[in-house]
Amino acid sequence: MERLDEKGQWIVLMGFIISVGIFFLAIILNQSVMVGQTTSEGVLEFPKAEIRDLRTEIIDITVAGNTPEKQNSITTLAMERENAIVWYSQTAEEPGDIYTESAIEIHFNNGVTSYYENYPLFEKN
């Protein structure tokens, strides 16, 4: 009998390997859609700009001189605009040789992100 020509076998084999490869790629692609979505949601929800804005505002207010009215305004504004709970307070001033030291405690919580900061404040004597 005539011998079979086996030279074409690699085509079949490559076809098989490629199809298996595509199958796994499809699985990975399917997963990546979900990963991308949750990651972008996480980035969207993180209130970076809100925290920054409030932080600078609070520091400016405290340096200029804090009053309970200003404190109330910040709390109300944060709830009105950003649905966030914000409070801050200044710790007692400790006089030193060159600087008077105190700190601002800032608390921010909007249900997704909770943020706490102790911002040191130095005033030259």
């Binding site: 979900m34 929800e45 109300t76 709830m79 649905n83 709970i85 249900g111 997704v112």
Partner: protein, 273 residues
Amino acid sequence: MLRNNSYSDTKESGVSEAIGFIIMFSIVLTGIAMVTLYGYPLLLESQINSDERTMEQTMISLQNDFKILTYSNIPYRDSAIRVSGGYLDAIDSEKSNDAFVFQFWNYSAGLFDDITMQPGELRYTSNEGLAVYTIENGAVLSRQKFQQGSVMTARPRWYYDESTGTLVIILTKITADRDYSLGGIGNVQMSMLTEPETIDMDYAGNGIPAQDIILTYTYDPENDLSLAWRNFLTGDFISQDSFEENPATPGEYTFSGVSRFVLKEYTVKIENL
């Protein structure tokens, strides 16, 4: 063994060609029959499954649109979606059959006040499958048809801040001028043009002791999401402290020890579907 090249001498000890053909043909036919019988329904089922999964993702992105409208104070939002394997309905808050009732001590009026809120819904119902997804009050909830029980896929932003004892409840009401329904590719146009209604009860700031907030949830018998809400309210999602269900009256939940109670009600209008 010597190799014999002449055809006449080779022994053909196999079956005849006709029988061979019948065997091969029957194998092929059996293969086709198996695929139509088992493979095709399986394929269809996986199609329904993937449709429902895509829709779940779509509902979460719609919830994100709601968040952008409400929390980011953006008046209009238009997003193209594909509703696969079912239809999406907009249900006006007046027509929704479930309700949230909040009872709280109103110190400025000197009485126990209550606020009733019918949330309205965006509801996806699968045609072939059993899934029902609902966007209600800023949450995505899922349920199976003809079965009890429901699950909250994405939570609303209700929270309790421990350092100040503040309970923040953010309600999202959905309104629509008429009944909208969408299947296939379409646009969801939403607007938030009215100001949110805010109730801010600062008990601690006015020298009033911490209060109890009572929430009564009445569920829609046609779309029973009571279990999902119960798990959300009584679980540790709001904070370590949570609502507690009153054993005597199911559907009534109490959150005790609230120093400040903030309730915001946003109204989102579905302009078109």
